[in-house]
């Protein structure tokens, strides 16, 4: 580290220039109006007047692996430890609509989340967890309608009515094409499934967050803070437009839209990002879509600390990174938070590392005092300036995406921007322009870490056996009837939630349901091009 301070370039992680010191001249226009009051338009300072004085954020650790039994045990453990909401990770076959015995599922069953084939697995997953008292977030996109139907069906069996359910399905398919890759169908039928969920929930599951529009994965794929705001809101605009085109009144579904952002390591840039996103969304909803319900203007968001900022080298350093990122999310006014575990650059978290990650949130919440005043960084010349700049720069990207015909047509543009940013950052790390402690500075000789969590490879066969059992026990004729009805509905314009619910309740598998939908909708063919 030979660079003296005079040689360094002072920029944020996104590359925004940073001055030596900020003063009133850096804050534009009528600061009072741009700031507003917490709980009031444009919500720069937070969506609630009292914020964490009234209620802390939901501590929602994303977890799930192996079998439904194993994940059920982890959920009960986390709830006992003071976690306040569940967040379910599903394995990739479940997310992409393959049963555990499909050849495409080879090697992937139960690996990055729990394997769910039929309603029987979902019943096991939530056994002993009262669904009227826990809110559940499900990271599921292409198969969101099916998993939500299963959740509703499990609740019914527990005697819980759909209107008592609280939770979120991620259900953001556009970012899957852009960055995360768990798409099944082409954009148009996918958007139909998304809006079908909006419509069904507005009628039957009114407290459900019908989508969590996610910048997180685009950020993890390498985009900057500015791009994260821009691309997430551009995708959100596409969902609102699709729903309005489908005949829904904006104020019936917009209050149930929620967001999901990443909190990276550049502390002030991240705080400003959350504030800018909130203000920009409020303006878009009010001015662009004419929403009149105040709740339609409010950007409510979950945050996860940045997986991509974690290092395999000296993994204990990740505890510090995560704490700083979590603090930025809290100062930025998040409604819910997942803190990553220190071992996640190496494997799924162990129970001990997951607990430490949760404790990190609890220390911020209960010991630091940062929850006492609302928007404590508001009025900082630097933070207000950054908030303005991020808002302006994000708007430029949104205008560009509008010119390209909206987010569904701008997938390649967003991918290219993200790839360029990822490569720029990699070069900056390798040239030493950007320091990563333990990786390109302050390195030590290390032994490979021990005691990482491993998913038992024999589980894949056990899960296939479970699926065989369910197939043998269920009423095969009822399954066929339900699947036929679903396929017919898919060919027409009916809302697909009802027929999916019927199929799920007959114990049709995710693979069977998706096979019928694939027959009607086809599959998305990704363009493969390196920029």
């Amino acid at each position: 580290m030979s660079q003296g301070p005079s040689e360094r370039r002072f920029t944020t992680l996104s590359g925004l220039p940073v001055e030596r010191v900020y003063g009133p001249e850096h804050v534009k226009g009528d600061a009072g109006e741009r700031l507003g009051e917490p709980g009031a338009y444009p919500y720069t300072r937070g969506i609630y007047p009292t914020m964490y004085r009234g209620r802390l954020w939901t501590m929602r650790q994303y977890a799930g692996y192996a079998t439904a039994e194993e994940s059920n045990r982890r959920y009960r453990y986390l709830l006992e430890q003071g976690q306040t909401g569940l967040s379910v990770a599903f394995d990739l076959p479940t997310q992409i609509g393959y049963d555990s015995d499909d050849p495409m599922a080879r090697g992937e069953v139960g690996k990055v989340g729990v394997a769910i084939d039929t309603l029987a697995d979902m019943e096991t997953l939530f056994a002993g967890i009262p669904l009227d008292r826990v809110s559940t977030s499900m990271t599921i996109n292409a198969t969101a309608a099916i998993l939500l139907a299963m959740y509703i069906a499990v609740a019914k069996k527990q005697g819980v009515r759909p209107e008592q359910l609280n939770g979120t399905v991620q259900n953001d398919i556009l970012k899957e094409y852009v960055a995360r890759g768990t798409y099944i169908f082409p954009p148009e039928p996918s958007m139909r499934l998304v809006t079908n969920i909006f419509e069904y929930c507005a009628k039957h599951v009114p407290n459900w967050n019908t989508i969590s529009i996610s910048g997180y994965h685009m950020r993890e794929a390498g985009c900057t803070a500015v791009q994260e705001v821009a691309f997430t809101l551009a995708n959100a605009i596409a969902y609102v437009e699709a729903a309005v085109r489908a005949g829904l009144d904006v104020d019936t579904f917009a209050p149930r839209l929620s967001f999901f952002f990443c909190s990276q390591i550049d502390f002030f840039e991240e705080i400003a990002k959350f504030r800018a996103a909130r203000r920009l969304w409020a303006r878009i909803m009010r001015e662009r879509f004419g929403a009149r319900n105040e709740r339609s203007w409010m950007l409510r968001f979950h945050t996860q600390t940045a997986g991509a900022s974690l290092t395999a080298q000296q993994p204990e350093n990740n505890v510090v990174r995560t704490a700083i990122e979590a603090l930025a999310a809290v100062l930025g006014g998040t409604q819910s938070l997942h803190t990553n575990s220190m071992d996640e650059a190496l494997a799924l978290p162990t129970e001990a590392s997951a607990r430490l990650a949760l404790r990190t949130q609890q220390i911020i919440a209960y010991e630091t005092g940062v929850t006492n005043a609302v928007d404590p960084v508001g009025g900082s010349y630097f933070v207000e300036h950054l908030t303005d700049v991020i808002e302006e720069e994000a708007e430029k990207h949104i205008r560009r995406i509008d010119e390209l015909g909206g987010a569904t047509r701008a997938i390649a543009y967003m991918q290219r921007e993200i790839e360029d940013a990822a490569y720029r950052l990699q070069r900056a790390v390798e040239s030493g322009e950007r320091t990563v402690v333990g990786v390109n500075a302050f390195t030590i000789e290390e032994e490979p870490p021990r005691g990482l969590l491993r998913v038992d490879p024999s589980l894949e066969e056990a899960q296939r056996a479970r699926l065989r059992e369910v197939r043998e026990e269920r009423d095969a004729a009822a399954v066929e009837r339900a699947l036929d009805r679903l396929e017919e509905a898919a060919r027409g314009d009916d809302n697909l939630m009802e027929p999916i619910l019927e199929a799920v309740e007959a114990y049709a598998s995710i693979g069977e349901i998706c096979a019928r939908l694939r027959r009607v909708f086809g599959e998305y063919e990704a363009e493969v091009a390196l920029s």
Binding site: K111, A312, P448, R450, V455
Partner: protein, 137 residues
């Protein structure tokens, strides 16, 4: 005149995280190699077929979903089934150090963990291809 080193970068299995694969593809290309990227969700058989069609020297595999134990060796087998015994197979992603010996025994030449500089991978590929051709390393 020798032709440039040809590399197939491949995402095997269902994992959709391809930031690393794409960054490495660009770094190899910037180093003068010809790089083909398969895109997502490739089976071992599809990857081996592409390696055959594209006549590559190197296959780079990426997986972050924990499926590497099953899928990486399956790629090596599929390559061998097509007579591609001298293709250098390397891997990366989220791969615990304790899995590496078994992967190497299965024919993966090297595993690159998170935080590996791309320059190190470029250098490795050059040496491995040169060594394979029987030339000086």
């Amino acid at each position: 005149m020798t032709r440039p080193i040809r590399v197939l970068m491949a995402k095997v299995g269902l994992d959709g995280h391809d930031r690393g694969a794409k960054v490495i593809a660009r770094a190899l290309r910037d180093a003068g190699m010809e790089v083909i990227y398969t895109g997502l969700r490739q089976t071992p058989e599809q990857i081996a077929e592409a390696a055959l069609q594209e006549d590559v020297d190197v296959v780079g595999l990426s997986s972050l979903s924990g499926a590497h134990d099953t899928l990486f060796p399956a790629v090596v087998q599929a390559l061998r089934a097509r007579g591609l015994d001298d293709v250098v197979v390397i891997g990366g992603g989220i791969i615990p150090a304790e899995d590496v010996p078994a992967l190497k025994a299965a024919g993966i030449a090297e595993i690159f963990g998170p935080g590996t500089p791309t320059s190190e991978i470029v250098e490795y590929v050059r040496r491995a291809v040169a060594a394979r051709a029987g030339g000086p390393a």
